[in-house]
């Protein structure tokens, strides 16, 4: 069995297990078009990587994935840099706040608990949303087109009125939308905090929000989201390394290799599978991970002591 020693986590891990985890997350990334960072950190926790190290190293791994994606999208003209910079500004502030929150949590020994609890909430929300959305999509396929068309504008109007009421409206030509700068700033800040606390890129929040709330076209959404995630992850990685000493570079590198290979397999497989069935499968995986984490929080632990700093 090939093992690897992680110098910052200060423990050994099976190399094939880490490559496998990266591969599974990469596979999901290729299948579903999400980064999978939100799934990788909980999986790392399950194999015994300290929570703070798992989250910080996951951010480091996302830097690599986001940089290749951003580069490719920028070449294709699919990045709205004006929107991306506003998201980034919010993300930098949110990331700095998140890293300080983690530092505080480490100092009080609550980092592990807080990261797990945040994951339970986020995975629960995302998994439930995906499941309901997939089931609804399967049903909508059977609903007459005229009825769906009648319902759509009614749902959008309330949100549209709220967006129009916000101050500092600006045109975003590439995305062909006119919205308040408050929205991307706030969204970026939220993703920045989550990025630091959970070690995620935030694409799983960013993409649906950009599509459904900001009404941006899908091809620009992915590129712009990756652009913002790249810089937010860079910011979080550097801050985590400088302030919390929790980035395990070797761990990030191994995960990156696994996820890269997995993503290629996933991209190939996704062409042969039906989208809604895939979404239900993904929702099942997310909810199963959440249940496992809930059990870890509510069942009596093997020992009633833990190390300080969530390690």
């Amino acid at each position: 069995m090939l093992h690897i020693y992680l110098p910052v986590a200060e423990r050994g891990a099976n190399l094939l297990t880490l490559l496998g985890l990266g591969g599974v997350v990469g596979l999901l990334s290729g299948l579903f078009g999400v980064g999978g960072g939100f799934l990788l950190t909980p999986l790392l926790l399950m194999i015994g990587i300290p929570p703070a190290v798992a989250a910080a190293s996951d951010s480091n791994q996302i830097v690599a994935a986001a940089s290749s994606g951003t580069f490719a999208h920028a070449r294709s003209g699919n990045v709205d840099f004006k929107m991306g910079l506003l998201l980034l500004l919010g993300g930098l502030v949110g990331g700095a706040v998140g890293v300080r929150v983690i530092k505080l949590l480490i100092a009080t020994g609550q980092a592990g608990f807080a990261i797990r609890l945040t994951y339970v909430v986020m995975l629960g929300l995302i998994g439930s949303y995906m499941f309901v959305d997939s089931v609804r999509a399967l049903r909508t396929a059977r609903v007459p087109v005229a009825r769906a068309a009648r319902e759509a504008p009614r749902r959008a109007s309330a949100w549209a009125r709220l967006v129009q009421a916000l101050p500092w409206q600006v045109d975003f030509e590439r995305s062909a939308v006119r919205i308040s700068v408050v929205l991307p700033l706030a969204l970026g800040a939220l993703v920045g905090v989550l990025s630091a606390v959970m070690g995620v890129g935030g694409g799983f929040i960013m993409v649906p929000v950009m599509v459904y709330l900001l009404r941006m076209p899908m091809h620009v959404v992915v590129g712009t989201s990756l652009f913002q995630i790249l810089f937010t992850s860079v910011n979080v990685t550097v801050l985590q390394a400088a302030m919390n000493r929790t980035v395990d570079f070797l761990l990030a590198l191994v995960l990156l290799v696994g996820s890269t290979l997995g993503a290629q397999v996933g991209a190939l497989a996704s062409r042969r599978l039906k989208a809604d069935q895939l979404k239900i499968l993904m929702a099942g995986i997310i909810l199963a991970t959440m249940v496992a984490m809930v059990l870890g929080l509510v069942l009596r632990p093997a020992a009633l002591l833990s190390y300080e700093g969530g390690h």
Partner: protein, 273 residues
């Protein structure tokens, strides 16, 4: 009266032998025990934490002591105890309690003073058959010997069993009755056991103590050790991460970006995130 004096005299001699044997096996040999060149023998003398390190295995051997023949009390082969301990540290831990009626979360602190970071005890017979509990405790054999006297009335005393559970779950604490292997060597037969430390055992110098017991008393003791040290690459990364965090973070980002661009170049694909 004569018997009491004989017991007291025997105890005194055994105690004296145990004390002097810390500096060698000379006294033990004078008492009729098998002379050995190096006892205990610990192999290898050290382990290096490299990239593929996943723990270390050390072989500890000691001369077999068949003991005087016959069926008189104290005759027969000596029982053996091997004790491996890492450097003692003051351990600051968090106590997990139920919060909000549902979750187990850290709520409160406890400090265990001078607890070894790793502690392994191998005995050839159950500890109760080696010697009395207080004797074992005074020799540092068994988990109970790790309790600080000051802990008894404090929270550290109450949570000591949890400390053992935590450390055992990490395999940093091990206490087991093991079948010592008998091996032939140039200096005579030896009893051998393997001590396996997990990757979490810290880089440090570890103390190895071997005791032979007969009739509830120590008849011989010896001491050795081994060192676990960080390899060059590992030490460089750890030092960089811990002392130059900002530089380490920047390097990690630059390498990740380069790796990402390389991946994009090789596969030429666009991945969503």
């Amino acid at each position: 009266m004569r018997r009491a004096l004989a017991v007291a005299g025997g105890g005194f001699l055994a105690g004296l032998a145990a004390l002097v044997s810390l500096r060698g096996a000379g006294i033990a040999a004078a008492q009729g025990e098998r002379p050995v060149a190096r006892d205990p023998l610990v192999e290898p003398a050290g382990a290096v934490i490299g990239v593929f390190y996943h723990g270390a295995r050390f072989t500890v051997s000691t001369a077999a002591d068949p003991g005087p023949p016959g069926s008189t009390p104290g005759a027969g082969p000596a029982a053996v105890a091997v004790v491996v301990s890492g450097p003692p540290v003051d351990l600051h831990l968090r106590i997990k309690r139920r919060v909000w009626g549902a979750f187990w979360a850290p709520a409160g602190d406890v400090i265990f003073e001078r607890v070894p970071e790793a502690y392994v005890v191998h005995t050839s017979v159950p500890p109760a058959e080696l010697a009395a509990a207080d004797v074992l405790r005074s020799l540092g054999i068994g988990y109970e010997s790790l309790r600080s006297p000051a802990d008894s009335a404090s929270e550290a005393g109450a949570f000591f069993p949890e400390l053992v559970r935590l450390k055992e779950s990490e395999k940093l604490f091990q206490a087991a009755v093991v079948p010592f292997r008998a091996e032939r060597a140039a200096g005579g037969d030896r009893l051998v056991t393997d001590v396996v430390l997990p990757a979490r055992a810290p880089a440090a110098t570890y103390r190895v103590r071997v005791f032979r017991f007969r009739g509830g008393r120590v008849v011989w003791r010896g001491e050795g050790g081994f060192t676990i040290s960080r390899g060059a690459a590992n030490a460089l990364l750890a030092t960089l991460a811990n002392r130059h965090g900002l530089l380490y973070g920047l390097v990690a980002v630059v390498v990740a970006v380069a790796a990402g661009l390389l991946v994009g170049f090789v596969f030429g694909s666009v991945k969503g995130h």
